[in-house]
Each structure stands twice: as C-alpha cells, then as structure tokens.
Point group: C2
Chain length 168, copies 2
C-alpha cells in the first residue's frame, strides 16, 4: 500500500468521478485544466492509493498557516484533512487508515470535519472532539489529532450568537 | 408559519434530538446548561418553526464580522447559515423555504455549506456556487446569496496546496 501525491490530469479527474464526494473542488480543477489555467500534472491537494492501476482511496490535505490556527497550543501550522474516501468495494481493508497514518507522518496537528457516523474510525486513530465554539466552529463538528507536545488552544467561553433581529 | 428565535432550555434541547444533524453543537449547549455556564432561556443561534407545539424545522444563523469576510464585495458582515433541517414528516410544505426567506430578511449576504443533493432547493431560492478556492474553501462546497448591490469578492487565482513533503 503506497500513498501517492496525485497530479491534476484528465486521468485522475476521470477517476475522481467514482467517488461520492465529487464536487465543486474537482469541477474547478477540471475547468482550470481545460482553460489552461493550470498545467497538466500540476500538483493537487489530493493523495491517493492505487490498487493495481485503479485509484481506490483518496484524501485532500492542506497546510493551514500558523496565523490562522484557532485549534492548537502552541499556535502552529496544521493540516486540514478532507474528502477521505475509499471506494465501496475496497472498504475495510485498511486503505483509509493508511491515508490518515500518512497524514500523521508530517508531524503536524491535524483537523478534520468528518461525516456523521464515522466517529469510531476516527476515535480508533486517536482523533478527539474539540470543545465546540460557535464563533469558530459554526456548522462544523471538528475532530483533531494532537502530536506529542501539542494540546488544545485555550478558548474564551463560547458566547451565543450576536445576531440582532434587524427585521423587527 | 412563524419563525422564532429559539432559547436554550431543556425542552428545546430535547426537541433537537429529533433532528438528524444533532451533534457536538447541541451537546455543548446541553452541557453548558447543566453546568450553569449559561442560563436557562439564553439565546441560541437557532431559529425554528413550530407546528402546534412541535418544533418541525430549524436552522442556525451566525453573523460573521466584516473583517473575516472572504466571500462578498464590498467586504461586509454576512450570515453563515447551517443545520437547516425539516423533520421528515413535515418536508415539502415550505418550512425550509420560510426559514431561508427569514434569513434573507436581515438584508445581509448569506453563505451556507449545504449537504450534497440539496442543490435544487438552494438554486430555487437564488443561491449560487462560489468559484472554488482551495485556500479559502478547503472541504466546503459554499453556496451564497447576494442581496442587491453585493457581488463575489475578487480572488487571486486558486493556488495548489503548498504542503511540502517533510516526510521525504
């Protein structure tokens, strides 16, 4: 099982169509490629695992800069992880775990906003819930992974919404 | 059909359990109430519609401050909308639309990150896709609603991930 950084090209983008979470991100990459806004084989934020010639698992990883970190103490660069997905026929064989362990290998804290009902998978890999803060988390249910020496950022107590009823 | 701002109390939190997207946000509100971190009947970011005595639809709304606006031109306060949900037995009766129209009534731009497969609903209400930007949008598929005189923020061309392989 080898995790590879995926290039943006027509073959990869065609393979992405097999994944349930194919959306605006993939469409945008396809348009940029068609419009020559990016070169064929430009680097993407995606990593994947091939089984033979077939892409069977993938995730997206992005390094968020220290200045924007609202999750970790000390404040630092961290990885946002999303679109972790394994094709149905290839699930429960360790592909998802392999991708997450690869992400951990960068030695940075990781934050993800997982789908509902995937809690067991993430807990098993050492991810924990944050203390929900409406100002920061809004509609997210963040899970985080702390490398050694990293902990949760101290937060002011969550305030309720400051939305005033301007319609009344 | 009247949209009401929901207070945080045991009755409301019990009703929230009937919604599919019950999660960390609701649990956090329950804990804060139990630990006396917030008062009974504190304001929540939730709005809802009652059918008789029963809460049948809800959404969460939060006013994001101008300084954090990465979506709208001119840069301004906008509303983040999430957890828009109508109980199954009450769907297709206009409750969802009523909530969104209520949100529009504040006169601010709105941003939401909808569930997959709800595109028709949002398009019908005048929401449109943003130009995906990995730096800003990460794992989101944002839809936005522009009031008169507001347009999309001009963005630098989306760059690919700057995550360097520190493991190599």
């Amino acid at each position: 099982m080898t995790v590879k950084k995926l290039s943006i090209n027509y073959k990869t983008l065609e393979e992405f169509k097999q994944f349930r979470e194919y959306g605006i991100q993939e469409l945008s990459m396809l348009e940029d490629l068609q419009d020559n806004m990016i070169e064929n084989d430009s680097e993407s934020p995606f990593y994947g695992i091939y089984f033979g010639e077939k892409l069977v698992a993938r995730m997206s990883l992005y390094r968020v800069q220290k200045e924007l970190d609202k999750y970790f103490e000390p404040q630092q660069d961290y990885l946002e992880l999303w679109k972790l997905e394994v094709l149905t026929a290839y699930q429960r064989k360790g592909f998802g775990k392999e991708l997450v362990e690869f992400a951990k290998g960068f030695g940075l804290p990781i934050k993800t906003n997982p789908r509902i009902k995937s809690a067991d998978f993430w807990n098993h890999l050492g991810f924990t819930s944050v203390n929900y803060d409406v100002n920061r988390d809004l509609g997210e249910n963040p899970l985080v992974w702390y490398p050694k020496g990293v902990s949760a950022q101290a937060r002011p107590q969550s305030s309720t919404s400051d939305l005033t009823d301007t319609t009344e």
